[in-house]
């Protein structure tokens, strides 16, 4: 009887490590990926653009110079934007304004700037040559 109990205890002890999932992070998985794949994007609607947005991530070649962007889209078709850009040796702000229109997933920002847009309820994804910017809906505090 005692022998059976001892064997059972030893068996539980031997199997216990297998029951706990190893939590070592593989060396290939140590780096964090940009949060560009964690959204279910859909074709945007005009209402998705109305409001204030700030960039959550900027990927692509432009990310070297473009640190952060903000946009305010109004329902009347006007928009205003600001970007923190690495200029020569110091960062500097650029601002712009214009009118926007949406045709399918093509967002026209004027002056021939047409970008491919997709949306979630509180995010916009704007893709153009050189990079992708993911904007998060923001509020003025």
């Amino acid at each position: 009887m005692k022998l059976r109990f001892l064997c059972a205890i030893l068996g539980v002890c031997a199997l216990l490590p297998a029951c706990i999932t190893p939590s070592v992070i593989e060396s290939s998985g140590r780096a964090l990926a940009p949060p560009t794949t964690n959204f279910e994007w859909r074709e945007p609607r005009p209402a998705d653009f109305e409001g204030l947005f700030e960039s959550e991530s900027i990927e692509g070649e432009v990310a070297a110079a473009l640190w952060k962007v903000w946009y305010v889209f109004s329902s009347g078709g006007a928009y205003s934007g600001a970007a923190l850009v690495l200029g020569g040796t110091t960062p500097e702000f650029q601002t712009l304004s214009g009118t926007w229109s949406l045709d399918g997933d093509q967002l026209d920002l004027g002056d021939g700037q047409v970008v491919r847009a997709s949306a979630t309820d509180d995010h916009l994804r704007l893709a153009s040559e050189g990079g992708v910017a993911i904007l998060r809906r923001s509020t003025i505090q």
């Binding site: 070592v24 432009v62 990310a63 110079a65 200029g87 650029q94 920002l109």
Partner: protein, 388 residues
Amino acid sequence: MTSKLLQGIGICAVIALVGGSIAALLVVDRRLHITVAEEDDAARRGPDPLVLLAADVGSVHEELRELGDGVGTQMQALHDALESSASEREAKWSSEVARLREEVAMLRAHVERSDAASAQSRAEVATALTALGEGLQRVANAVSEGAARPVAVAPIEIPTAAASTPVELHVAKPESPAVAAATEQPAAEAPKKSFLSFQLPSRAFAFDQRQRFAIVPSLSRIGFDAKSTLHDFSGVTTVVEGEIMANLAHPAEACAGSITARADSLDTGLEARDESMREVLEPAKFPELRFEWTSFEPTKVDDAAQKVSGVAKGKLTIHGVARDVAMSVTVAVDASKRLAIDGQTKILMSDYQVRPPSKLGVISVEDEAVIWIALRARTLGPAPVTPR
């Protein structure tokens, strides 16, 4: 009666008037002498022309004398001025000649120095050509071994001998095409790239330039791997910040930086294990985990792939104890022109006065652990120049 009286008076008056007239006539006749004669010829003919001519001649003579005196004075002044001007010109030309002689002497000395510099330059060109030949030989050897990549050999630029200044020798460094493209600086006049209607410099990142890089916390984390008797586990934190300065093309030159993480933010995935870890790390007392990056010894610099491997050296501070460490590190440039810095090193917890956690003497953690970093850093622009 009256009429007779008046007649008498009248007669008397006439007599008196006649008498008075006669008396007056007699007096005038005695006193008044009237001469009637012909007009004088001299007075009739006017002034004598000879006298007038003599007077005119005298006046002209006087004027001529005054004029002669004036001309003599002017001629004397002119003579004095000419003499003065001649002496001034003589002095000026003397000094000019002296100056020209000095310049000729200086030019002669300069030519002699240029000859010496040219000789030195020829020697330097010969040395550079020898080095270049050796480099080409090494490339040729590498090519023959099948391990070389295309190498562009830049031309040697030698200024013409006509230069009056000491001759400068420019030997362009051989670079691969990729490096040549990467070394172009993001100058202000560089063409702009438009993205979302913003105008961005087309080349904000340069591989061959000493730059400041800031850790991007949202894309970075550091951690450790530990082994226990139960199973192995990792602890990680994304509360990371820091800055690195480096020239990726020449990483051995003045590479420096610091990376810090919050000790109380380490997460192993199990609350009980985190509690045990905090007991030994004492984050309230030693809140920071820190790596002071002081130097880099590259083992491989791949300009074309924009990738660098080597050993980062510095001081690792854990639990308030700082120790020198050497960490194997790989630095690569990702598609977003950010640095992907991955590295790891082994440490002994006991070196940092950290007691490996143990539960009931059965579940214990090994003293040896692997510290690793997986960071992303973006350029902040050129770093301040430091003397090498």
